[in-house]
């Protein structure tokens, strides 16, 4: 039941792009085409889940016991950067086809604030379950990270679909490109507001 709550909350209610404003740059940058949006979503999904698990363990077994939690920011970003690099190398060796599909997105992910944002959120924020709240355990954190990245993918793919249609329409000159895209995201976010309060 708790896992279900986490999943629904992370995908719909607190959607990472539309409600938490994380990972906006790549969201706007690569959502021109449905296929690239899909590829980016997959890569982000992979990295967010992996990074959250690794940073959670580092925080729990290295930073907390030694009283070094003030180093969270710097430790997490280095871990994420190293992780992305490692994923790139491993993917290249193990599955060249997957590497070709995700490869170009991987370097971009280090500076995607969604990854660092989720990692920091998981270890610093209490999550509400009904009438109580507690810090997430490793299992819950993993599920949360995975569900959040699914929410990222959902927002990205939906938005790419809208943008493909926008590209075919006459838009006033000053609205061309990003402005009309931002306004469309705004309307999408308005729709997602309807989910608030269901968990």
């Amino acid at each position: 039941m708790e896992y279900l709550l986490i999943i629904i909350s992370a995908i719909f209610v607190n959607n990472i792009v539309l409600a938490q404003f994380l990972g906006i740059c790549p969201f706007l940058g690569v959502s021109n085409k449905l296929s690239t949006a899909g590829g980016m979503s997959l890569a982000v999904c992979f990295v967010i889940t992996l990074a959250t698990v690794v940073t959670y363990l580092i925080n729990q077994y290295l930073l907390v016991p030694f009283g070094l939690t003030f180093l969270q920011t710097i430790a997490f970003i280095l871990v994420i950067a190293a992780l992305v690099q490692m994923v790139e190398i491993v993917l290249k060796k193990v599955s060249p086809s997957l590497y070709l599909a995700l490869g170009i997105f991987l370097p971009l992910i280090t500076t995607n604030c969604a990854v660092l944002g989720v990692a920091i959120n998981v270890v610093t924020k209490e999550f509400t379950f009904g009438d109580a709240a507690h810090m997430l355990g490793l299992g819950e954190a993993t599920v949360y990270a995975f569900a959040t990245s699914l929410g990222y993918g959902l927002a990205m793919v939906l938005f790419a679909g809208i943008r493909e249609h926008l590209a075919l329409n006459e838009v006033p000159k000053a609205f061309k490109g990003l402005p009309i895209a931002l306004i469309s995201v705004g309307i999408m976010a308005l729709a997602f507001l309807g989910f608030s309060g269901i968990v």
């Binding site: 003030f70 180093l71 710097i74 209490e126 509400t128 379950f129 009904g130 009438d131 109580a132 709240a133 608030s196 309060g197």
Partner: protein
């Protein structure tokens, strides 16, 4: 290459170590002052306030006891939380020994701005009604004496529930 990275990391670690050592005391002082202020706000003036006492009552994380100079208990400040509309709603509730609410304040919330978040506006009618509240602890819609915030019944119910938890704890201790 490796030498350069090591050097940069060492320098940065030194800078951070120094900053951390220099800011540790002020950060702790700020946190303590904030906790003190939130307790003092919901209690009558004067008297000695105890250290936080942990509690395993429902929704209550801990409480503070205020005693007069003669050693009699004059009030309790209870940290009580429950699920609101957007997340956990945590209150500090000042309760007199007879179960009357003295005052309340919001410690943490994630309610909707402009709707449920109005429960944080100190001078609002919703917040004023809690001063000296001794009626039935549920919103009027549910047959109680609490005036809910317009269009924010869920937040009002949660707020009321958190207060009720605090009052229940004090009543059980006074018995």
């Amino acid at each position: 290459m490796a030498l350069c990275l090591t050097a940069v990391c060492l320098v940065c670690a030194a800078i951070l170590g120094v900053t951390y050592a220099a800011t540790k005391a002020p950060i702790e002082a700020a946190a303590a002052a904030e906790a003190q202020a939130s307790i003092a706000k919901v209690l009558p003036d004067g008297g000695e306030i105890s250290e936080e006492i942990a509690s395993d009552a429902e929704g209550v994380e801990g409480y503070y006891v205020q005693t007069s100079e003669e050693g009699a208990v004059t009030a309790y400040a209870v940290k009580s939380s429950t699920g609101g509309f957007g997340g956990l709603l945590t209150l500090m509730v000042g309760v007199l020994p007879d179960g009357t609410v003295y005052n309340t304040s919001v410690l943490a919330h994630s309610e909707t701005p402009g709707l449920g978040a109005k429960c944080t506006e100190e001078k609002s009618a919703f917040r004023e009604q809690w001063k000296g509240f001794a009626g039935v602890l549920s919103v009027k819609k549910d047959g109680g004496d609490v005036d809910a915030i317009t269009a924010s019944t869920i937040t009002s119910r949660a707020y009321t529930k958190a207060v009720a938890q605090a009052v229940a704890l004090v009543k059980s201790m006074e018995e």
